[in-house]
């Protein structure tokens, strides 16, 4: 079925209320910490209080003797049992072809700790309180070493790892440097910009949690874990860390309270619990306290970049040159190395036909928590850099923020960028024009005058983003260093009575798959979404899966479901043909009925389903009974959602307070199944992006390496009063290479919004002579910038 036929089906494009909401709204959700297993005991982790230290000795005597303590494990126990370190899933090579530095990432420290929060010991006790109390009694003698937290200072700091004496993990480059340098030599104007992409802490509202369980009777492990991709978690843990038979391990990610990337990864705690569950023959639960989440969840962003755009006399882009230092933290998290390279530099063409682009990335180890994908993952960093640069170029050349974008936008597809990606479709000028209209840009001058009358400054900021979603064609990802496939799996189980259970390798942690996927299946089979249930997050029930991240669920997971539905339809047609004594080729499936073309003969889907399981009148000689099909889908390209965002802010020059007054987002996500859910995804993404631009900043003390923003009292999470209502619209150019025509919508808001906000702040401050502003634009920073510009 093609994407255009698909959108005409019932329930497609319908704002169906979510099937999962009742359980969440009535307290019936089952998050990992809500699960209590028989004779469950509790684990607490002893974490490093130092950013960098050698462990001289550990005295466990008092802890082991404490009430209720069952066992205390340290790095030596892990080494004795030959449990490996956590693997990195993406290999990046240096320009000379040598591989990145890949030092061990132990699940419990082996002689050294490398960031505040690094795992030193695991205490297991009968109750959580006993485990906590005993953890206080673990005596670790540390020799504190000098530490480094800033990426630009990593090169001259004390080495974290023997394998990387200068703390350098890799250098990576893309593009033709010679051509770029030549274009710069010819340029009429060059715009330059230095910027920092501030480090963020994801802070899903459900802290990470896990329960390790083992059955001696069956030799089977079960791990409940708050995670976005249980099959990958299992694969990494069994094949690369513990050497366990994969079929003996079941990973269940039940209701998961938000992820935003931070729950993609295999974490040390998950392995420790699984390992200890067998050793102790006990069910062991661990739930992070929020302060633990702050120090031990993978963080996001943390880039320091220099960018230059070469232009001709008309403001047409000739070439882009970028250098980025990326902070990877103390160890390589699961996808850490792909974020500042494959997911970043390849997006730097943006929506523009810049003929030449060269990007160089240096990635470094520092004494901070590992950095990995956080909502957008590389693409927000690319968009922030490019869209800040483009707006600055507009101001330097005297063009409007919209005009410079319009002049440089790609208008014909497919479009091969100079940084590897090929965009299949889009209409970038239309998004810009619609955004201009919806944002009532024509009235900006009047609103600005009204603000000025109140003594306030008003600014407008643009951002035209593109992202690559639907990760990814496995062969291309493999050539770029991925150590896994990136397909998805879906199974459709039609029950004898015609209701359907869908098993998907995608995982919902707020995205509403139980509703959206049910709409897809109901539309195809001509049944009600109420008759379709979606199962996800359990390796024991779902055949396989690569999980949810990179806005891939609908484009890749949804397509796997479509492929399985194709098989269901093909088989059901054969059954229907048999029942109606017609040829397979003469059967059409329309509105839930099989029809013999050109006749009034028809039979309902439910009748066919029943026949498949009660095959009394059935072509058993050539067709198996049953109606249950599985499909794997490997995409042929990335998908490319795009949009233009326009932000208006009011700045109080006396206090530096920025008030976000208006925000308009016009997106192209391809075909939309459930517009209500899509809007919700955009809202959430926007507030995370606005949070980065105005509020959020992860700060480590440069001297001690202590995390200074380690609680919700120190790390400014956006609250309801910090943001306005948003103006949204969508335009549609269907994705050309999946049957849903879908592109993905989960990350767009977080990708597109930060530069729109900062461009607006700078536009407001321009008359005062302020030229630059790093995120977050807090009142203190804005006020200081205003004061500095006076002198």
């Amino acid at each position: 079925m093609g994407a255009s036929d698909f959108t005409k089906l019932p329930h497609i494009g319908e704002a169906l209320k979510r099937k999962e909401d009742y359980r969440y709204l009535t307290g019936g959700g089952q998050y990992t910490d809500d699960i209590t297993l028989a004779a469950q005991c509790h684990a607490v982790f002893v974490r490093s209080p130092h950013a960098h230290a050698r462990i001289k000795s550990i005295d466990l005597a008092k802890a082991k003797a404490a009430p209720g303590v069952i066992e205390v494990y340290i790095g030596e126990d892990v080494a004795a049992d030959k449990i490996g370190g956590l693997p990195c899933g993406w290999l990046i090579n240096n320009p000379d072809g040598s591989p990145m530095k890949e030092p061990p990432h132990p699940i419990l420290a082996q002689g050294k700790v490398r960031y505040v929060g690094d795992h030193v010991a695991m205490v297991v006790a009968q109750t959580q309180e006993q485990a906590r109390n005993a953890a206080e009694l673990v005596e670790v003698d540390y020799e504190v070493l000098p530490s480094v937290v800033r990426v630009t200072e990593a090169a001259k700091a004390e080495a974290l790892h023997e394998q990387a004496p200068d703390n350098h993990c890799y250098k990576w480059a893309i593009g033709d440097k010679g051509q770029v340098d030549a274009a710069f030599a010819q340029a009429a104007h060059v715009t330059r910009l230095d910027l920092v992409n501030n480090r963020l802490i994801p802070n899903a509202m459900e802290p990470r949690a896990a329960i390790g369980s083992y059955s001696r009777a069956t030799e089977e492990y079960t791990l409940y874990v708050s995670n976005q991709n249980p099959h990958v978690e299992r694969l990494l843990m069994t094949a690369f860390v513990m050497g366990l038979p994969e079929h003996k391990v079941r990973v269940i990610a039940p209701d998961v309270g938000g992820g935003f990337g931070s729950k993609i990864y295999l974490y040390a705690e998950d392995v420790c619990l699984t390992w200890a569950a067998k050793k102790l023959n006990r069910n062991i639960k661990w739930t992070a306290e929020r302060s633990e989440s702050f120090v031990s969840d993978a963080h996001g962003r943390d880039h320091v970049s220099h960018a230059e755009m070469a232009m001709d006399k008309d403001g047409k882009f000739l070439a882009l040159r970028v250098h980025t230092h990326a902070n990877l933290g103390a160890y390589l998290s699961t996808f850490a190395t792909a974020v500042p390279t494959i997911l970043y530099a390849t997006l730097l063409a943006g929506q523009y036909a810049t003929p030449q682009i060269y990007v160089e990335v240096d990635a470094w180890f520092t004494n901070t928590a590992p950095v990995d994908a956080y909502r957008g993952a590389g693409r927000p960093e690319a968009t922030y850099l490019l869209e800040r640069l483009v707006t600055r170029a507009a101001w330097e050349t005297g063009l409007g923020q919209d005009e410079i974008r319009r002049r440089n936008m790609i208008t014909s597809f497919p479009y091969q960028t100079p940084v590897a990606l090929q965009y299949d479709t889009g209409d970038f000028p239309a998004l810009l024009e619609r955004s201009n209209e919806l944002a009532e840009v024509a009235g900006f001058a009047q609103r600005k005058a009204a603000s000025e009358a109140k003594g306030l400054l008003r600014g407008i900021g643009y951002s035209s983003y593109i992202e690559a979603c639907g990760i990814a064609p496995s062969n291309i990802a493999g050539a770029l260093g991925a150590r896994a496939g990136l397909f998805e799996c879906g199974e459709i189980r039609v029950h004898p009575t015609g209701s359907v259970t869908v098993f998907t390798g995608s995982h919902s942690h707020g995205q509403g798959h139980e509703t959206t996927f049910a709409q897809v299946v109901a539309a195809r089979l001509g049944i009600s979404p109420d008759q379709v249930d979606v199962v996800h997050g359990d390796t024991g029930r779902v055949p396989f899966g690569m999980g949810t991240y990179g806005s891939r669920s609908l484009a890749v997971g949804g397509t796997a479901i479509m492929k399985a539905l194709d098989k269901i339809e093909a088989k059901a047609k054969k059954i229907a043909a048999h029942l109606m004594e017609a040829s397979d080729a003469d059967i059409d499936f329309v509105g839930g009925e099989f029809v013999v073309r050109g006749t009034d003969k028809k039979i309902a889907f439910g009748q066919v389903a029943l026949t498949a399981y009660v095959p009394h009148n059935y072509p058993l000689d050539k067709l198996e009974p049953g109606l249950n099909e599985t499909a794997f889908y490997d995409p042929t390209n990335f998908t490319f959602p795009a949009g233009t965002y326009i932000c208006e802010v009011e700045v109080d020059p006396a206090t530096g307070v920025v008030r976000l007054d208006r925000f308009t987002a016009v997106d192209d996500f391809g075909n939309i199944i459930n517009p209500m859910i899509v809007e919700g995804q955009v809202h959430g993404g926007l507030v995370q992006g606005i949070g980065q631009a105005l509020l959020e900043n992860c700060i480590y003390d440069p001297e001690s390496g202590q995390l200074l923003t380690g609680s919700f009292m120190d790390y400014a999470m956006p609250r309801a009063g910090d943001v306005p209502n948003f103006q949204l619209d969508t335009l549609v150019t269907p994705c050309t290479h999946n049957p849903l025509g879908a592109k993905g919508c989960g990350e767009a808001g977080a990708i597109g919004s930060p530069p729109a906000v900062i461009n607006a702040v700078l536009d407001a401050l321009r008359p005062l002579g302020v030229k630059d502003m790093d995120m977050p634009a807090t009142p203190a920073r804005v006020w200081e910038a205003i004061e500095a510009a006076k002198h």
């Binding site: 709204l25 509202m205 802290p207 929020r290």
Partner: protein, 157 residues
């Protein structure tokens, strides 16, 4: 120590250590796991319950302080036949939730907010929700749900 209290209309006698928090009593002793713990500094509001009709963060109340109190958790908000409270229904109708984790606390806060401020404006609702953090929704649909749920509560009163 013995704590006697009424939870969702049912009298309970619970034996807990004196430093037990109300949220621990609710989750661990009564297995009412709809009340969530999202932080350790009384900031996020995921653990919000009604104590004598007033929204409190149950991570910031000792179980002993709830002695003799009437507690309503999210499990006690719907009618006995499972029909959702107007505020719950409004959250569903307005897509005011995504992952669901903050939702239960958010709904309990919203019920209290609308009792105390039945005519709150959108801006006032935003300010009054300051004690509840949501990472998924961007708040727009939560605010809409509180407005709609508040109207429905007034109509039902």
């Amino acid at each position: 120590m013995q704590v006697e209290l009424k939870v969702n209309g049912k009298s309970q006698q619970v034996d807990v250590p004196s430093h037990t928090l109300l949220v621990q009593l609710i989750r661990e002793k009564l297995q009412l796991t709809g009340t969530h713990v999202g932080c350790d500094t009384a900031q996020c509001g995921a653990c919000t319950v009604l104590m004598n009709g007033r929204a409190v963060k149950s991570c910031n109340v000792l179980a002993a302080q709830a002695s003799g109190a009437e507690i309503t958790t999210i499990e006690g908000l719907a009618q006995p036949d499972g029909t959702m409270h107007p505020m719950q229904a409004a959250f569903k109708d307005c897509h005011g939730l995504q992952c669901g984790f903050c939702t239960t606390g958010m709904v309990m806060s919203a019920v209290d907010l609308c009792h105390k401020h039945p005519n709150a404006s959108e801006g006032e609702i935003r300010d009054l929700l300051e004690g509840n953090i949501c990472r998924c929704t961007g708040y727009q649909n939560i605010v809409k749900a509180v407005q709609q749920g508040g109207q429905a509560m007034k109509a039902a009163a």
